[in-house]
């Protein structure tokens, strides 16, 4: 999923001969330095590449994948109910709210900043929707849009104080965390809790499940097919342009791995009720935002600002615009997540967006592999991190572990993730990769 960024050039790749042919250079200059460590062909090459990446701290998604496997094995062996189709299907729905908010956090972390207000903002937006739709009888689509626009406006306000006024983002959003929580209580008024009916749009977005088994398989097939098509087209274009391209064997291998995961998920989901709409929306959001980050000029600007602010400025990038827009995205995604969480419990209450939600979403983004230090990360870490956090909570709920212990364990997992991030950054520095 994140392969395009760590593509390696091959020795004497198709590009080498070309330059020499075009220009009768006095001496033939190899386009590839002989000191470059290049990957050998075939599977032995993969193993060597993998070992080298491990040593230099380019862990990518590896720690979190291992974490998921360990967590599932442990809970699965303690209680077989954990790995049941029902529990895993529920899990796939439960992670959506947290995951959506974590996507916004990933954007902010890429700038090397933090947004501490997302919990309160998610609660506020859920309250806005509930009060407008349920109490004031506004059209539910309109109320949904107002809630999302509210999240965006709050994010833009944070971004303005950070980018234009120059207040540290940490302080702005900490103030916002308190202020928006207060506004939410104000909006909810005296009743304190607004119940959202089960046929409301927000409830249905969360609870709708495509019961036909075809839906899950079709979604998996379309996803895998598009991935394969995009990879093949990219390789063909690179080949035609005589720049290094990914060999067909590697494309097939990647596609097979993706297909195995996608169809396994589809089988599990179909063994219970089918493909949840919430999960499908979450995956679509991830695909779209991943595309924005890696394939558009805007995404490139976010990475540039996260890497070197002065460098970005000299390159003509409006740092203030990037910062304000990223905080707007964060606020909007907090609103989206807040609405899914409200749909999950079918109410907006005084405790919405409180508790350990903020910690969980930041933990999800970091556990998933997005660096706290800016400039490195992917939106997929929101999915992986939310899966880890969700699995731990789900497993401990099944085993009847108390909240007290759950908090301590979640805290320990977050600390472990940050330690892995710091250590990998240190060894990346030593290996000249950070």
């Amino acid at each position: 999923m994140r392969g395009a960024r760590d593509r390696d050039d091959r020795p004497g790749g198709p590009g080498t001969g070309d330059a020499a042919a075009q220009e009768p250079a006095p001496e033939s200059v190899p386009a590839v330095d002989s000191r470059l460590i290049v990957r050998e062909e075939g599977f032995r090459g993969y193993a060597g590449e993998f070992r080298r990446k491990l040593r230099s701290g380019e862990l990518g998604s590896l720690p979190v994948v291992i974490a998921v496997v360990v967590i599932w094995t442990v809970f699965g062996s303690l209680d077989s109910a954990f790995l049941s189709a029902q529990n895993l299907s529920d899990l796939s729905q439960q992670i959506v709210g947290t995951g959506m908010i974590a996507v916004g956090i990933v954007f902010v972390l890429l700038l090397g900043e933090i947004d501490l207000s997302v919990g309160s903002v998610s609660g506020l937006c859920a309250a806005i929707f509930a009060v407008l739709n349920v109490i004031n009888g506004m059209n539910e689509w309109l109320a949904l849009l107002v809630a999302l626009a509210g999240g965006a406006a709050v994010g833009l306000l944070h971004g303005f104080f950070f980018a234009k006024v120059g207040v540290p983002a940490f302080v702005v959003t900490l103030a916002g965390n308190l202020a928006w929580n207060g506004l939410m209580l104000q909006v909810l008024g005296t009743s304190g809790t607004v119940n959202i009916p089960g046929d409301s749009i927000v409830s249905e977005l969360y609870s709708t499940v495509f019961e036909s088994p075809v839906a899950a398989y079709a979604a998996a097939a379309v996803g895998v097919g598009l991935f394969l098509l995009a990879s093949l087209l990219d390789a063909r274009r690179r080949r035609a342009a005589r720049v290094p391209y990914r060999p067909i064997a590697e494309i097939v291998l990647r596609t097979v791995v993706l297909a195995a995961i996608a169809f396994a998920a589809a089988v599990v989901l179909n063994r219970y009720q089918g493909l949840p709409l919430a999960l499908l929306i979450f995956l679509l959001v991830l695909v779209v935002l991943d595309f924005v980050l890696r394939r558009t000029g805007y995404g490139r600007r976010i990475f540039a600002v996260g890497g070197n602010i002065e460098g970005a400025r000299r390159a003509g990038i409006s740092v203030a615009f990037v910062r304000m827009s990223v905080f707007t995205i964060s606020g909007t995604m907090a609103a989206v997540g807040g609405l899914f969480l409200a749909g999950q419990i079918q109410s907006a209450s005084q405790t919405s967006g409180g508790g350990n939600l903020l910690m969980n979403v930041i933990a999800a983004a970091v556990i998933g592999g997005t660096s706290l230090f800016g400039g490195r990360g992917t939106v997929w870490s929101a999915l992986l991190g939310a899966l880890v956090i969700g699995s731990i909570q789900s497993g401990m709920n099944i085993m009847g572990v108390s909240n007290a212990v759950q908090f301590m364990i979640t805290g320990a997992v977050l600390l472990a993730a940050v330690v892995v991030d710091s250590l990998s950054r240190r060894s990346q520095k030593a290996a000249g990769r950070a």
Binding site: A31, D33, R300, G307, G432
Partner: protein, 266 residues
């Protein structure tokens, strides 16, 4: 060096508060020429460069671009004319790869989406024509050596196809081999017909690649020297203001004696 200068500055002055940082500064840069701008700390080198690059527009004086007077009020104006500046701190994004850095802010697009293939292709072409040796254009800039980073920064300035390149202390932080790489690159800029303004403290580097040397002292021109007809000592005297010193007099006398006796000057 035959035709009219690409860039010429006449009577350029800049004042910061009570300090006259630059007064009546003159400079001409032709296509295919390396002009070294040397001077002691505080002599006005940076002020002169910032005036050309549009960072600090001059108070007074004329800047002519290909014989036509222009006003450069913003860095953008300078870039649009075709003046590229490589600052000392390079300003590369460590987390982006070489291609990402080369095209930062000027990404090629295809259907509104980044055209990675064409950017990679053009990066390789550019690096090849400059004989820049980078292990791979797809590795993060963080893993390059200081000299390679400098060459990437210089190559980046060439993406916009400028006519004049300003290099601010390009060899200041580099080792022997890396300095050699960068100096080779400066010579290649000249071969490609670009005018180069090289700011440096290192006389060896200046004498190695410059065609002409402009000396600044206390914000004023203190002589232009043709590399072929000058010595390091002469330039250093101009920098320090000791133009008329015992050393220069002895040298002048020796030269006269040699010329009188018909010997060839080395």
């Amino acid at each position: 060096m035959t035709d009219a200068p690409v860039l010429s500055l006449r009577g350029v002055s800049k004042r910061f508060g009570a300090v006259q940082a630059l007064s009546d500064f003159e400079l001409e840069v032709h296509a295919g020429e390396v002009v070294a701008l040397v001077g002691d700390n505080g002599a006005g080198k940076s002020t002169a460069v910032k005036a050309i690059a549009g960072v600090n527009p001059p108070d007074d004086g004329v800047i002519e671009w290909q014989g036509r007077p222009v006003s450069i009020n913003r860095p953008h104006d300078a870039q649009n004319l075709g003046i590229a500046t490589v600052y000392q701190d390079l300003a590369l994004c460590d987390n982006l790869d070489v291609v990402g850095n080369l095209f930062l802010g000027r990404e090629l697009r295809r259907f509104g989406v980044l055209d990675e293939v064409r950017m990679e292709q053009r990066s390789r072409e550019l690096l090849d024509t400059l004989s820049i040796r980078i292990p791979s254009v797809r590795i993060p800039v963080a893993s390059l050596s200081g000299g390679q980073r400098q060459t990437v920064a210089i190559a980046r300035s060439l993406i916009g196809e400028p006519r004049i390149v300003i290099l601010d202390e390009p060899t200041a932080a580099l080792g022997v081999e890396q300095t050699a790489e960068v100096l080779d690159l400066v010579e290649r800029l000249r071969e490609h017909g670009l005018g180069t303004i090289l700011i440096s403290h290192n006389m060896v580097d200046v004498m190695a690649v410059a065609d002409r040397i402009a000396v600044l002292r206390l914000g004023r021109n203190n002589g232009f020297f043709d590399k072929r007809a000058t010595t390091t000592e002469e330039i250093i005297s101009a920098i320090t203001g000791a133009t008329d010193s015992a050393v220069t007099r002895r040298q002048a006398r020796k030269r006269e004696q040699r010329e009188a006796s018909g010997e060839e000057t080395p």
